[in-house]
Symmetry: C2
Subunit: 266 residues, 2 copies
């Protein structure tokens, strides 16, 4: 099967015009079918502040209330997605930007909407857990030489847009595409990979398998934000994605060739 | 050739949730290929106000400065476009939302960027005049049973997004598609059609041809906002669009059947 690269870039790259443009040029030079999933960055938070919308926190978790959903829809599916697409077009990459609502690309269920009767659901707000990915639409657009840029907004099929984690979307897309392609999933962020010592960029762990991951969790090496990202990485490799790596956005080509970043093994 | 309906809805419908949802249901029931072009509505202005961004006016014309471009990109290509798409999906219409940057759908030139040397260009800001429409992309998406929802944002091919008049985009798309379809272009807004007396919704003019349009302009019947809309309508009919009408968003089916609104004739 032909290779497909599903690449996710995080907020820190999006917030930095120079880093973003350098990444997008490197992305353009990757050969063959590719899908870019982008996160949010700080613009949504800044916009909420400038509009006087307070970020509601429940037990340390940010809640996507109606005002926040409006903002992330505008910023993720509007500003960030379209600016990335316009920039890729200027580099000669025929990008097309989609949210999960477009062509029913990502259907999700509002979190907490399926708790058993009698149990009080936590109020997660307008957050969606992915149910289906429209792999046929992606395959069709890729076969007409488009590269696809996905914003982390899904829909529930009943007219509701939902905020959805970009790492999870990248994983779900990668897994949905294994029936059509030999899929690589690359998580790009501002660090060199999974680090043994968070303060030392030289302490990259080159490979992590399931057993070692358990050890790293127990030792407290993998914590906080890295935990869900790595769980997504393992979900992908266990579901049949051929190559899963986590590394620095500057090194996308090296990561693809397994010469940089942390490689996730089953 | 198969019929294609290119339908434009204006801001007054977008600003009213009930009117919009009723229009989108009627739109869903139109048979065959269709493209919806939407305008902006008041949300962009309200958002600018809440962010303290002042609308800059030069000679009575609103200028799309960098801050305004950011806002219209967020509101038009993000919030409005994705909410319309999600709503259409919930009605069973397989909508896909695009800006002019996506798949190089609408390439434009920044207004004032091509004035001869020695002449000081007026500062129009980030406004684009349409150069090309990617009819092949539209045809391909329509042939896979998508309906397309277009936001009035174009790009210059060099990474710049540009604010572009939605009436003009609808006209340019309609004209670009005449090589593939028998095209109807319908401008929907909050009035019954072109009115002889703006204060009397019963005074619809059922048909206007070029000669009568000149007469109506001279008499001051057609003024202000109606003038560019009608100029777009005549550009379309003169370029070979089969049917061009202007009417109320509530009457979309009747307008298609020429039983409501104002029909534009060459």
């Amino acid at each position: 099967m032909d290779p497909l690269y599903v690449i996710k870039i995080g907020g820190n790259i999006i917030d930095d015009d120079l880093k973003l443009s350098s990444f997008l040029q490197a992305f353009t030079h990757i050969k063959g079918p590719r899908i870019l999933v982008h996160g949010g960055g700080k613009m949504a938070t800044r916009l909420a502040e400038s509009m006087g919308i307070k970020q509601q926190m429940i037990e340390g978790r940010r809640v996507t209330d109606a005002g926040t959903l409006k903002i992330v829809t505008m910023v993720y599916a509007g500003y960030i997605n379209k600016n990335i697409v316009a920039q890729l077009q200027s580099y000669g990459c025929n990008a097309i930007g989609l949210s999960g609502a477009d062509g029913n690309l990502i259907k999700s269920r509002k979190r907490g909407s399926n708790v058993p009767a009698g149990i009080k659901p936590s109020d997660y707000g307008f957050v969606g857990d992915v149910e289906t990915v429209n792999d046929g639409l992606l395959k069709s657009l890729l076969s007409s030489d488009h590269c696809i840029v996905v914003a982390p907004i899904s829909h529930d099929g009943n007219g509701l847009l939902l905020n959805t984690n970009a790492d999870t979307i990248a994983m779900e897309i990668a897994v949905a595409m294994i029936r059509h392609f030999d899929v690589s999933l690359i998580y790009c962020f501002e660090k060199e990979g999974v680090l043994m010592d968070a303060s030392d960029e030289g302490s990259i762990i080159p490979q992590i398998d399931t057993a070692y991951f358990e050890e790293l969790k127990m030792k407290g090496v993998v914590t906080d934000g890295m935990l869900p990202k790595m769980q997504n990485a393992f979900s992908a490799i266990n579901a049949g994605v051929s190559h899963v790596s986590i590394g620095h956005a500057d090194n996308i080509k090296l990561i693809i060739d397994n010469k940089s970043g942390t490689n996730i093994l089953a």
